[in-house]
């Protein structure tokens, strides 16, 4: 490099690779997970400095994209690096999208064809089997029959409705493998299972589950019968810490055509109601609306107050909502996530399209056009991968 006739130049650095290592370390430690990874591959001195840094873990939500064909691996999308796609290493890890119920960190809550649940780690393939669903502790009985399941209510009646696993939630500690999985057993009750349990324990007061979110060891539950309950799971048994009666929660209407619905109007229709817990622990009720013909989606947010009233919320401020995960994140921490927006799937059907609804403009935008003509994508799940086990030293 041509040195200008600058008498100071001998005192100055010739290039960034000569930065003193303690300052370089302090610099690298401020970078996000993705930026850190890119910076350490710049040159040898930066690489060796990076090895002295406190290891960074990923905390931006990624998208897990499922292949249409169950024999291919999953694709991973990082919103901070929109021009790249990653692929999982294990080809023999079969992960059909329709059986992936929920995610927690790098773990997926899966359901197999006999409706039994298990947890699997996307990167290490480690698997934790959960108790068979018919192993229930409580007054509602579940029996497995040739054709499916039969539910017997506490009062002895046998509802004809099929056994649904409603709004499953999962939490797992990546280090200790302590976990909690919970779901609504049809209209009857909510069940949960923790590490060490051989069966599913019932929570009988939580009836007719509409949606649930599990965050910070608390289970947030809302039902179609207008109950909102919060349970504290940090102790041995769940403890109800909040209950209120809310405004009517409209039932989910199936988005089907058919003889009973010959005309599809373009009137705004409530499609689904979901529960979301914000970064600060506020509980939001989110109503999703769709104009069927034009396929335009919109949202209404309500904050649940302790009195049971709902207050309309028009902005998420610096937060961003991941509707499928039931949480908000602070958008300022991430480059690829827009603030004051709701990230959602534009269809219940098999699709890979994620859209965001910008709460300021009240318009829909597509997150990213996945240009994968060869690998058809059959759907997606948000997840928060932790790369600590996967990082090559």
């Amino acid at each position: 490099m041509e040195e200008s006739h600058n008498p100071n130049s001998h005192e100055r650095l010739k290039s960034w690779s000569e930065l003193p290592s303690d300052l370089l370390i302090s610099l690298l430690e401020r970078l996000s997970f993705t930026d850190f990874r890119r910076a350490k591959s710049v040159c040898r001195s930066w690489y060796s400095a990076s090895r002295q840094c406190v290891p960074k873990n990923n905390n931006i939500p990624w998208l897990l994209l499922f292949p249409e064909d169950n024999n291919s691996c999953c694709t991973l999308f990082n919103p901070e690096e929109k021009d790249k796609l990653y692929r999982t290493q294990y080809l023999d890890l079969v992960l059909p999208r329709i059986f992936c119920l929920k995610t927690c960190g790098s773990w997926l809550l899966m359901r197999n064809r006999s409706s039994n649940l298990y947890l699997v780690n996307l990167f290490t393939k480690e698997r934790i089997n959960l108790p068979p669903v018919e192993s229930q502790v409580g007054t509602t009985k579940l029996e497995r029959t040739v054709v499916g399941f039969r539910i017997t209510c506490p009062d002895g009646s046998k509802p004809g409705k099929p056994m649904h696993i409603r709004s499953p939630v999962v939490w797992i500690d990546e280090k200790t493998k302590d976990y909690l999985v919970s779901w609504g057993l049809g209209t009857c009750c909510v069940v949960y299972s923790k590490k060490g349990d051989n069966s599913w324990t019932q929570v009988p007061e939580a009836l007719d589950c509409c949606d649930m979110v599990y965050k910070d060891h608390k289970l947030y539950f809302c039902s179609y019968s207008r109950d909102l309950r919060i349970y504290d799971f940090s102790g041995e048994a769940p403890r109800e810490i909040f209950w209120c009666r809310c405004v009517y929660v409209e039932r989910f209407a199936y988005d089907g055509g058919g003889p009973r619905r010959p005309h599809v109007t373009n009137r705004k229709r409530l499609v689904v109601t979901k529960l979301v817990v914000t970064v600060t622990g506020d509980v939001l009720k989110v109503e999703t609306y769709l104009r069927p013909k034009s396929r335009i989606w919109s949202f209404r947010l309500f904050k649940v107050c302790s009195s049971g009233d709902f207050k309309r919320v028009h902005s998420l401020g610096d937060e961003s909502m991941l509707l499928a995960l039931g949480i908000t994140v602070l958008a300022n921490n991430y480059e690829g996530i827009r603030r004051n927006s709701i990230y959602f799937n534009a269809s219940h059907n098999i699709t890979s399209d994620i859209f965001l609804f910008n709460l300021e403009t009240r318009k829909m935008e597509q997150l990213h056009k996945f240009d994968c003509s060869s690998d058809q994508l059959s759907g997606n799940r948000w997840f928060l991968p932790s790369f600590t086990q996967a990082v090559v030293a």
Partner: protein, 159 residues
């Protein structure tokens, strides 16, 4: 009657900077001197190492006097001082690094913090190739080593 500290810069453009108390206390290495017992009239001379020239020290003092004056425009001024909104050219980057080192030497934690954060911001969102070309760093890792550095346990699909 207040004590005076003199920063003596040697090198290309030797200059002595006189600091009053309000400014000098911001330097961690100097503020102890105020507590020691010495004659109020005398001056204390601090020799600054050769690699920190007077221009850099001058910039730092500009920063300190603005801080000391608690002006309301401070945040705006600070942003301007570190020009984070524009991609800085080579000279400005070197200046930033020099300020970072000098403030580390002088014990000004807040300034070290600000400069390091500004520099980190310049690295955000950039891939290694861009970083190398912008800042004239030679990529001396082998292809294998580079792949290892970028690896996360997942293979890359496409480019």
């Amino acid at each position: 009657m207040s004590k005076i500290i003199v920063l003596k810069c040697v090198g290309h453009n030797p200059k002595d900077f006189e600091l009053d108390e309000a400014v000098a206390v911001q330097f961690g290495c100097i503020k102890d001197l105020f507590h020691s017992d010495f004659d109020a009239e005398s001056k204390i001379v601090v020799d600054v190492p050769m690699k920190f020239n007077s221009y850099i020290i001058g910039r730092i003092l500009e920063f300190c006097s603005s801080r000391a004056s608690f002006s309301s425009d401070r945040a705006y001024w600070e942003q301007d001082f570190f020009h984070p909104c524009r991609e800085p050219n080579q000279r400005k980057r070197k200046e930033l690094i020099a300020i970072m080192e000098a403030s580390e030497y002088l014990g000004m934690e807040s300034l070290v913090e600000l400069t390091t954060q500004s520099l980190a911001n310049y690295l955000k969102g950039k891939n290694p190739l861009t970083i190398r070309s912008l800042w004239k760093v030679e990529g001396d890792l082998t292809a294998e080593e580079e792949a290892k550095a970028l690896a996360m346990g997942v293979a890359k699909l496409g480019h």
